[in-house]
């Protein structure tokens, strides 16, 4: 059923968040809070070298240490074959994943796991790590992307040959893949242009910087049954990857989803769980591992840094006639940067006749990258939207008018092939145009920037069930970890269908043994896809309730209607009966067929694409180079906001992370290839004083493929901020800053150089 035009009573309201009390009182149970009887502490020994051959690992001294119960190395893991899969949040090679959680033969980055111990205390485990003797042959390393692409660069993988080029290379390379997207004739387009602008841009790898480090507790019982408690964006993903990497049956693994303290894409793959299971199997005890913040930085994935060249040609009236982009993305130690979406997203906001985009996926001696909100899109959009600002200046055109002139609409054919349908980009631009922030004059001494962004959004596999409890209250269970408010949004959709207040529905995240398979929480898919499953489950429950009422009243089921949480006779001909509410029907459940429940599984398609536009005002301290965000407004097409407060929170969070990406965050490597700032003191994420109140403006162009019109909302808001801020700095200072982060020392140096 479709409720887009219905008079909704719950969807669109702002009930109190169901996880709020537990989180503010400290009662919420995260993975690090879990305990087990006789539990051991697991610790991981990590490579001190960015690139080294492992000659030998002697664990005998560590094993002899009192209190040490198990030590594992790659010898304790199956040497699995190369196998491409798409189980988490992107293409994944299981061999690479196995090698990433425990190095075999070579350590490929500083922080790469080479061994692990389990001991009775953390102190003993730490001491045991020191007693593990690893002999290395230190190898030349390469950190930066273009250096890794050079013909004489140290090669990370002897069996990596560049894909996507012909003829097939015979020599290994750090360039894992080349992808191209072409539309029209870009050379002819540039010949036809009145104005051409071009630029070279770089971004640094930035970490998802979730506040909760990775943690898990694993128990390998003597009967081969395995229980894992973990914080992740997908406990089914943990089950699948752990089974694959250890050669286990999925049926023997049960994963309990702990509360999660942020993920942003970084918790869509495993680091610890297979190691904890291996240690538990060897020791016969439960094993808990939790990363330190330093380990999070050294051992888990940031998103890619990149070097990008962009060129845009336009007519005098602002019509873009050609666009070209070359993207070089760091993948970290294994292939798999978000180069594909990076190539597709940069120009997806515009109706362009001639486009040429080439992308390179490049390995180097850094941690393997992981997904981060709208993977690839923020990087490519920083470059494109910075250049769009320069184009507007060169044309002496309003930057919003330039976007309006070239905006993608329904029927616009993208440069990667498909034609946009049911998009709301022009509505977003209209909302910018009419917003008080855009209409207000720029304050003296400040600068204003505008940038736009796109993300596909996805659907995928989800399971949900809805139970009417004995007293008529309702439980909705899903397989989606709640990162951005999905317990609220799913409960609200179920409540809307059932016709009861949101507070009557309790939504829980069920473990892997208690609900059907559900893909990870990511790609902005949960409210869309899991919400679709939950809505359909609630609809099945309503049909069942109507059948039960018909049975009680002894009338045909089609003579019963469901309204406001009650069964009514459909009309006077159906008979005169008092309405039956959920509680009354639940009371009669045994007599009318047993428990009232329904489960639905879906592979949801039709996730509507999302567009956003951000306006940013900044001031710049010319003595220090410090940039202050004075005012920030983020406009986004959200389809339909199920719980507007959560949607606004998603948008504010994306913008806040973008502020950090733009102004401060970067991995700093020394000349030895070692990261020098693996902590929040030196890797500076935004703090409260860095971020003004971000105004989120919700534009609602319903997605016709969702029962309530929802679109994903979590990815888009991190796409525009970096360019919006860079454009504001350009406006305030006259300086184009093409290299992120635009940190105080860098901006100060540029100001000094400009005199």
């Amino acid at each position: 059923m479709n409720y887009i035009t219905s008079d909704l009573k719950v969807v669109g309201t702002r009930p109190i968040r169901p996880d709020g009390v537990d989180k503010v009182t400290g009662r919420a149970v995260f993975a690090a809070d879990t305990r087990a009887s006789g539990m051991l502490w697991g610790k991981i020994k990590r490579s001190p070298h960015p690139h080294a051959r492992i000659l030998s690992i002697d664990t005998s001294k560590a094993m002899a240490l009192p209190g040490v119960k198990a030590v594992v190395t790659s010898a304790d893991f199956p040497d699995i074959a190369s196998e491409e899969a798409f189980v988490g949040e992107g293409p994944m090679n299981f061999r690479d994943l196995a090698l990433n959680i425990m190095a075999r033969g070579k350590a490929l980055y500083e922080g790469h796991a080479v061994a692990a111990v389990a001991a009775t205390t953390q102190e003993i485990a730490d001491h045991a790590l020191e007693l593990i003797d690893v002999q290395y042959e230190v190898l030349p390393f390469v950190i930066e992307v273009e250096a890794a692409m050079a013909p004489d660069a140290p090669i990370l993988h002897d069996d990596l040959f560049t894909a996507g080029v012909t003829p097939t290379p015979t020599k290994p390379s750090n360039i894992a893949k080349v992808v191209t997207f072409r539309k029209g004739d870009v050379e002819a387009g540039f010949k036809d242009a009145d104005v051409i602008v071009e630029g070279r841009y770089t971004t640094q790898p930035v970490h998802q910087a979730y506040i909760e480090p990775h943690a898990c507790l694993a128990t390998y019982a003597s009967d081969g049954q395995i229980t894992i408690h973990a914080s992740s964006q997908g406990h089914f993903m943990i089950r699948a990857y752990t089974a694959k990497l250890l050669g286990l049956d999925i049926a023997n693994i049960r994963v309990n989803p702990a509360e999660i303290g942020g993920g942003f894409g970084g918790k869509t793959l495993v680091y610890l769980e297979p190691v904890a299971v291996a240690l538990s199997k060897k020791s016969g005890r439960s094993v808990k591992i939790q990363m330190t913040r330093e380990e999070v930085f050294r051992g888990s994935g940031p998103t890619s840094g990149a070097t990008m060249d962009v060129k845009i040609g336009a007519k005098k009236d602002g019509t873009i006639v050609a666009a070209q982009q070359v993207l070089k993305f760091q993948a970290g130690a294994f292939p798999g940067s978000p180069i594909g979406p990076g190539c597709m997203c940069g120009f997806a906001m515009y109706d362009l006749p001639n486009v040429d985009v080439v992308g390179y996926d490049v390995v180097s001696n850094r941690p393997k990258v992981a997904a981060y909100r709208a993977p690839g899109a923020p990087i490519t959009s920083f470059a494109v939207e910075s250049l769009m600002d320069d184009l507007a200046r060169k044309l002496e055109m309003d930057p919003l008018a330039l976007r309006e002139k070239n905006a993608a609409v329904n029927g616009t054919k993208t440069h990667y092939g498909p034609t946009h349908q049911n998009i709301g980009f022009t509505a977003v631009l209209a909302a910018v145009k009419s917003h008080p922030h855009w209409k207000a004059p720029v304050k003296e001494g400040q600068g204003r920037g505008l940038a736009v962004g796109f993300w596909f959004n996805i659907g995928g596999e989800s399971s949900a069930n809805v139970h009417v409890n004995e007293d008529g209250s309702v439980t909705a269970a899903t397989g989606s970890p709640d990162i951005g408010g999905s317990r609220a949004s799913i409960g609200m959709m179920v409540a809307e269908v059932l016709g009861v207040p949101a507070e009557r529905v309790r939504t829980v995240v069920a473990d892997t043994a208690s609900i059907g398979f559900t893909h990870v929480t990511g790609g902005s898919r949960v409210t869309f896809a899991t919400g679709m499953a939950a809505t359909q489950a609630a609809e099945k429950v309503v049909e069942d309730l109507k059948r039960r009422a018909a049975e009680i009243w002894e009338i045909p089921v089609d003579a019963v209607e469901w309204k406001d949480g009650k069964a009514f006779p459909a009309g006077s001909n159906a008979g005169a009966f008092e309405p039956l509410d959920l509680a009354a029907l639940a009371l009669k459940a045994a007599r009318t067929g047993g428990p009232i429940a329904a489960e639905v599984t879906v592979n949801a398609q039709g996730a509507g694409a999302g567009f956003g536009a951000h306006i940013c005002d900044v001031s710049v301290d010319r003595e220090t180079g410090h940039v202050k965000i004075e005012r920030y407004t983020a406009v986004q097409d959200v389809g339909r906001a199920i719980h507007p407060s959560y949607v606004e929170g998603q948008i504010q969070g994306g913008a806040a992370q973008g502020i950090g990406w733009a102004l401060n965050e970067e991995y700093i490597y020394n000349s030895k290839g070692l990261m020098e700032n693996p902590g929040f003191l030196d890797y500076r994420v935004p703090v409260a004083s860095d971020v003004p109140m971000i105004e989120a403006v919700l534009v609602e162009v319903p997605n016709p493929r969702h029962p309530f019109g929802a679109r994903g909302v979590g990815e888009v808001p991190i796409v525009p901020p970096m360019a919006a801020i860079a454009n504001a700095i350009r406006s305030a200072t006259g300086l184009r800053m093409p290299n992120l982060p635009i940190s105080p020392p860098k901006l100060r140096a540029a100001l000094d150089a400009a005199g």
């Binding site: 988490g88 293409p91 997207f181 993977p375 498909p418």
Partner: protein, 83 residues
């Protein structure tokens, strides 16, 4: 018969001699995978594992039943994940 277009430069093109489009007899994504595998061994698996199909602008992932019509715009693009 439907015409299937490949994102230019995609890994699929090595199987089809650099062409960017193919005419296929398939009426569903499942039939498309089977036909591609039969005509170009390895391509069907590549498409099934790594590609999404965009039909008239709507992206379908892992959907055997997605319907392919002769008049439809059909593009194979890399699968989309997220963060």
């Amino acid at each position: 018969m439907p015409i299937v277009r490949f994102a230019s430069g995609s890994a699929c093109q090595q199987y089809i001699g650099g062409k960017s489009e193919l005419e296929v007899a398939a009426t569903t994504f499942r039939r498309l995978v089977l036909e591609l595998e039969q005509r170009f061994p390895g391509l069907g698996r590549q498409v099934e594992e790594g590609m999404a199909v965009a039909i008239d602008g709507e992206i379908f992932q892992d959907a055997y039943a997605a319907e392919l019509k002769p008049e439809s715009e059909i593009y194979l693009i890399p699968k989309i994940g997220g963060g």
